[in-house]
């Protein structure tokens, strides 16, 4: 048997639900209803602070995500740049080799021309032509060897350049990743600290709202208990049980942990 109709529905209060600020509203009978207003004010405050914490968490989460994406983008740019440099150095090397080869071909042409010249004067001055042709071949050979040396030098230089750029790329990569990680780690630590501050602010506000509500209700319950005890036939024990349970739930170590 339920005690005195416990759980019986009361008349629906004529007040707005979830009013952001406490306003004394009236029931359908026109009577001021502090109890409902107080309950609504506490509920609205709890909802507001809970929503504030959720918004903060969302903001910090999306902020860190945005920074992480930006960091990746920045590092990608940093890493892509030296790779382009490597390509440029390789192109330079290829151009140097091509140039050396052209020089070589030019030298060979000079040699051939000298040889041809030697042949041309062969008829008129045979002995002399032999010397000239010999000189022409020597010139051609010398120029060709020189050109080959230039080509080898150019290739070696280009190779060293590529190696140097490769080394610079690795350094730049390491530097960029290290810098990116440091920036994100610092931001993350800052955000974590703010999230903790937000959580503490939420708990503090929640506990204050709860304590204010408990204090008011405890006072009302004591007062109503006093009135009920003066009435005959009231099952006081059951009210005491409910009241004690409420007080138990409202202890700081239970409700505000």
């Amino acid at each position: 048997m339920a005690f005195f109709g416990l759980g019986k529905k009361k008349e629906a209060p004529g007040v707005e639900v979830a009013a952001p600020k406490a306003e004394i509203s009236k029931t359908e009978t026109g009577k001021l209803n502090y109890e409902d207003v107080g309950r609504q004010r506490a509920a609205a405050a709890k909802e507001a602070i809970s929503s504030g914490l959720t918004s903060l968490r969302d903001k910090l989460g999306s902020g860190l995500g945005w920074l992480a994406r930006k960091a990746e983008s920045a590092v990608y740019g940093a890493l892509a740049a030296p790779e382009i440099t490597v390509d440029a150095a390789k192109a330079t090397g290829r151009a140097a080799v091509a140039g050396a080869e052209a020089v070589g071909r030019g030298a060979a042409a000079v040699g051939h021309e000298a040889a041809a010249y030697g042949s041309a004067i062969k008829a008129g001055a045979y002995e002399m032509a032999s010397d000239v042709r010999s000189v022409g071949y020597d010139v051609a050979t010398g120029v060709k060897h020189g050109a080959e040396a230039v080509g080898r030098g150019a290739v070696a230089g280009a190779k060293r350049s590529v190696e140097a750029v490769g080394s610079a790329t690795a350094f730049a990569k390491e530097k960029a990743i290290g810098a990116k990680d440091a920036v994100i780690a610092t931001a993350e630590r800052g955000y974590q600290s703010l999230q903790e501050r937000g959580r503490q602010a939420y708990e503090s506000a929640r506990n204050r709202v709860e304590a204010a509500k408990d204090s008011f209700n405890n006072w009302r319950n004591e007062r109503n208990m006093q009135k009920a005890s003066e009435l005959l036939g009231v099952n006081r024990d059951q009210i005491v049980l409910l009241k004690r349970f409420l007080e138990d739930l409202g202890r700081p170590e239970n409700a505000n942990a």
Binding site: A2, F4, G5, L6, G7, K10, K21, Y34, E35, R39, R41, A42, A43, A45, I49, G52, L56, G63, L67, K70, A71, A74, G77, L79, A81, T85, A168, A172, A179, K180, I184, A187, G190, L194, A201, E203, S204, A205, R206, R208, V209, E210, A211, A212, D214, S215, F216, R220, N221, K227, A228, L241, L242, F245, L246, L249, G250, E253, N254, A257
Partner: protein, 125 residues
């Protein structure tokens, strides 16, 4: 976390002389919760308080809202709630500003990082 376990709460709720619909609502709320949180405790308190108010009302005991002491206690509660919310909003505004500052600082640092990378590229050619 609170010191209560779900089993503690369920056994205490079972021990109360409550209307069956209220009891099953409370039991269901506790059982569906993943753990006992201050928010769950608060919600249960609100429902028990409502049951208690209804019990008092059923025997003709109601609040006298014209009582100056009642108004005083009520206003103290509202003022404390207003104050708690105001302090909370102030702190959250400060936290939000700090968060914006962290984002701007980190963003600037990443911009500098990109600029430095471009310089490194030019110098290494």
């Amino acid at each position: 976390m609170t010191q209560f376990t779900k089993e503690d709460l369920l056994s205490k709720i079972e021990a109360l002389d409550l209307d069956e619909s209220i009891r099953s609502e409370l039991v269901s709320e506790v059982q569906s919760a993943s753990e006992v949180t201050p928010e769950l405790i608060s919600s249960i308190k609100d429902k028990i308080q409502k049951a208690l108010d209804d019990a008092f009302a059923a025997v003709g005991v109601t609040d006298d809202e014209s009582d100056p002491m009642y108004k005083k206690k009520f206003n103290e509660m509202i003022e404390e709630i207003d104050s708690a919310e105001k302090d909370y909003n102030k702190e959250m505004t400060a936290i939000n500003k700090e968060a914006d500052k962290i984002k701007v600082t980190a963003s600037d640092q990443l911009d500098d990082l990109q600029k430095q990378a471009a310089k490194d590229k030019i110098n290494s050619i």
